[in-house]
Amino acid sequence: MPFLILLLLSSLSFAQEVVTIKGKLIEKGTRKKLADVNAYILPHKLKAVTNANGEFIFENVPKGDCQLIINLTGYQKFESQSVGACGTDQNVDIYLEKSTYSSFESTVIGKYDKRDDQSHTLTQEEFSKAPGSFGGDPVRAAQNLPGVAQSGGNAQIIVQGASPDDTAYLINGHRVPLVFHFGGLSSVIIPEAVERVELLPSGYGPEYSRAIGGIIGLTTKEPKKDRFHGMAFVDLLNSGGLIEGPIDDKSNILVAGRYSYIGQVLKAVAKNNDNFELTAAPTYYDFTSIYSRQINEKNKFKTTVVASKDQLELILNKSANNDTELRGEFYNRTEFFRIIPQIITQIDDKSKMDHSLAVGRDSILVNINGRYLDINSNVISHRSEYVREWSPTYKTFIGLDNQWNQSEVGINLPTSYSVGGVRTPFSVGENRKFKTESSRTSLGAYLRQEIKPSADSKWTFLPNVRVDHFTRTQETFAQPRFQIRHQWSPSLLLRGSVGQYVQPPRPQESSPEYGNKNVKSLYAIHYTAGFTKDFRDGGTQGLELTNNYFYKELKNLVIPDVQKNYTNKGSGTIYGAEVQAKYKKDDWSGQIVYTHLKSERRIPQFGTAPAEFDQTHNLNLIGTLNRGRWNFSARFRFVTGNPYTPITGGSYDSDNDVYIPTRGRIYSQRFDAFNQLDIRIERKVIYESWILTSYLDVLNVYNSANQENIDYAYDYSAKKKVRGLPILPTIGIKGEF
């Protein structure tokens, strides 16, 4: 009998023969290993959890039919075939496809400490899909933000009715001379290397200065650490690539570059144009590299290298603007580079130090038929900041922000007087030829304080101060900047600020040879108030509303002067309101961004007039739909036309064979209102180990004939409107692994 029982048991164990099913769970397209994911085998109700490497194992799985099921939120459900799936031992790699993919999947966006309540930030995920950004350019996407003017062909960002030169451009906190390649279609750093772009409009904190309009700051990303990733793209205007990954367990690196062949396009278009000959196709290229090393538990080192070059050469057969001097050979080269090492020390859980340096060179050469501007500058800037949380109610930020600039400038150019956007022809100007070497030092120190009356208080007071010293003008400014914040409820934040902002004159304005060495710095007083109401109840869907009011008094503005070249006799006022309403529901998201402002300048002799970018109404409607592998986005803009100064006639300068325009009342008329629709369509194809993205960007979809300027006959007896860019489609593909 015991023998029979043993035989029965033995036969039963043969009937329940088992197999081992093991494998690895990988995100499709990115090869990211998916950890802590539940996998099930049915109908046996077996469960396994993936480890850090995405590996799972089922042992003793009854041999025969079974089904492996993985159902992870945010991913498409995986179900294996059931017939014979557990017939033998298996070792399988399973690629799970995400429901939606962001633009560059290897990007990790770190937690960002937003200091200024009135600042606006776009992460890579946001700017890469922004319509009108022409391939996801971060700075072009920033033009969708509240308070940013429609600048047409101006390759600068104009903030809240300020002048273009009143905006500073920063990369990792350090100033760079330009942010756009020519034409303003593309910024000087490849978008995939940028973690975020931040706009600091009026009322910004004490960390920055020397810009009375606002700040545009780009922050480079942290290179990926898990493995090597790459990206390459090609579109109609440029192509480029990026590679990033770990060097060892503490270091990681990113290298990226981009080259534009827009010149070849222009050359083809210009082939039959008698007005000029392109002798060398205009090009631009840029290079970015980031090296990051976790030195030890407390210290982290990061170095960013950014380099950019634009070049154009042509021959103008006919004088541009009928200005005799503006013909013949034209050559322009603009280049700069910055090496920005940074070391961040987490001293303890309450305090932190951040030191960074930027070393670089700026070079600009413009040559118009022998008249030239040749600037070569060596630039060093330094930032240090110590942050300490002394108690739950008191936190300080103490910092230094210094710049040193040593320049060699060669000029052989006529003076050019310009008021109200109407310029005296170069042919008429008095020629100035000189070569000079100079150095400028700007020293800055700041104290930011965050004070709460009690740990649970809803009020935060920020009595900040900044001190700036400019050697060029021998001026020192103490600039109080006071901010206040009241968390009315968990979803409603009220805020306000008042502060002083200073900006040194431009080098040409304070040049003894070309400008006026007695010109001093200009400054502004900013007043802001606003609120942010979050209707999302802690979720991600719903409405978020931001409203800001601003008032700016501008003093000591530098204006052209017939006797002294430049003086500080200008002043101005800017005030307005801006609203940003963001709404998200399921696959849809939308934004309404509206700015209403009035920007005026007072110039003795010419009186009070609107500023160049006084755009009363600026409305952006933005919509995005994410549908699986498809992404659709659109932007509609309506903006009041810019003011312009009418030209009422011309006087013929018989010595220089050119007409000198006669100004009407400055900025007394306006261009037609601007309206434009831009769309972006993106489609992803997800392969197991890489992703192919194709995209179509169309600027000005319905070919709106927006007025950018006015063209005049040689004697100013007739005029016509100059239209902006017509419909401009760009298609491109991007592969990433």
Partner: protein, 275 residues
């Protein structure tokens, strides 16, 4: 310089047919230049000014206007073209007489107006001026104003006082060539080349804004005009070829080249074709 690139892009993508009168094509009344017997003087001295004008289709009419002569208010630095600032302004009248019979046949009145206006520069012109300004020159301007067919034409000419020691001599055109040979009474065909031959440019001294003294050579520029057609380079260097881009007219035409030496010196050469 960034806006330049966008203007270039707009320039490229625009249709190019702006419907404006071309700068080189003579139509109606125009002032094309002012010739001075001396574009530079050592004060006290005087210079006689004579207008280069065109009045295509004007029928040989006399056009009356006014002149004002005064110290240059600083036009090169941005001041408006006006004599309102100078209480010593000299006012006069100026009549343009078109008496050139040869051109009158086809109503192509173009050339030097016979009347002159005299500019007297006093020795006091240097009062209060820097050494550099006295060396490089202090200008007097003469503003001409005419109202023709309801439209006001204003032009001005500088006469420069200098203590440099040597004054500018007018440039000269020795010949006007069509495809390398003297043009005579020929009309250019499409894509024919127009050229001028000139006397050699002068050299002169100039004090730069940083105080350095530089010897410069005049840059000779030619402004080309035709009574019919289009040119590829209406303004050109003296040694540059200029291409005539149109088919010639069936009637008489005039071609005018005005040479400037960048220091106020002007010379004129005119070719009148057979009908």
């Amino acid at each position: 310089m960034k806006p330049f690139f966008v203007l270039l892009l707009l320039f490229l993508t625009s249709c190019g047919d702006d419907k404006f009168n071309r700068v080189e094509e003579l139509k109606g009344f125009r002032i094309l230049g002012v010739v001075a017997t001396k574009s530079e003087v050592v004060p006290p001295d005087s210079s006689d000014l004579q207008l280069i004008v065109s009045d295509i289709g004007g029928g040989g009419r006399t056009i009356s206007g006014t002149t004002k002569t005064c110290i240059d208010p600083g036009i090169s630095l941005g001041a408006a073209v006006s004599c309102d600032h100078d209480p010593g302004t000299v006012n006069d009248t100026y009549d343009i007489l078109f008496s050139d019979i040869a051109l009158g046949v086809s109503n192509l009145y173009t050339g030097l107006a016979p009347n002159t206006v005299t500019v007297n520069i006093p020795a006091t012109v240097f009062a209060g001026r820097s050494t550099r300004e006295q060396f490089n020159g202090v200008s007097y301007i003469t503003i001409f104003e005419f109202t023709v067919d309801g439209k006001t034409e204003t032009a001005f000419k500088r006469v420069t006082a200098t203590n440099r020691g040597s004054i500018n001599q007018p440039p000269s055109i020795t010949d006007l060539l069509l495809n390398g040979t003297p043009i005579g009474v020929s009309k250019p065909n499409k894509n024919d080349k127009l050229q001028v031959t000139t006397a050699a440019p002068e050299t002169y001294s100039f004090i730069n804004v940083d105080g350095s003294q530089e010897t410069k050579t005049e840059e000779l520029q030619v402004a080309w005009y035709v009574s019919y057609g289009e040119l590829n380079k209406p303004k050109a260097e003296a040694q540059e070829d200029v291409k005539y881009l149109s088919s010639p007219p069936g009637s008489q035409m005039v071609i005018l080249s005005i040479l400037r030496d960048d220091r106020g010196g002007v010379s004129i050469e005119r070719a009148v074709s057979s009908p």
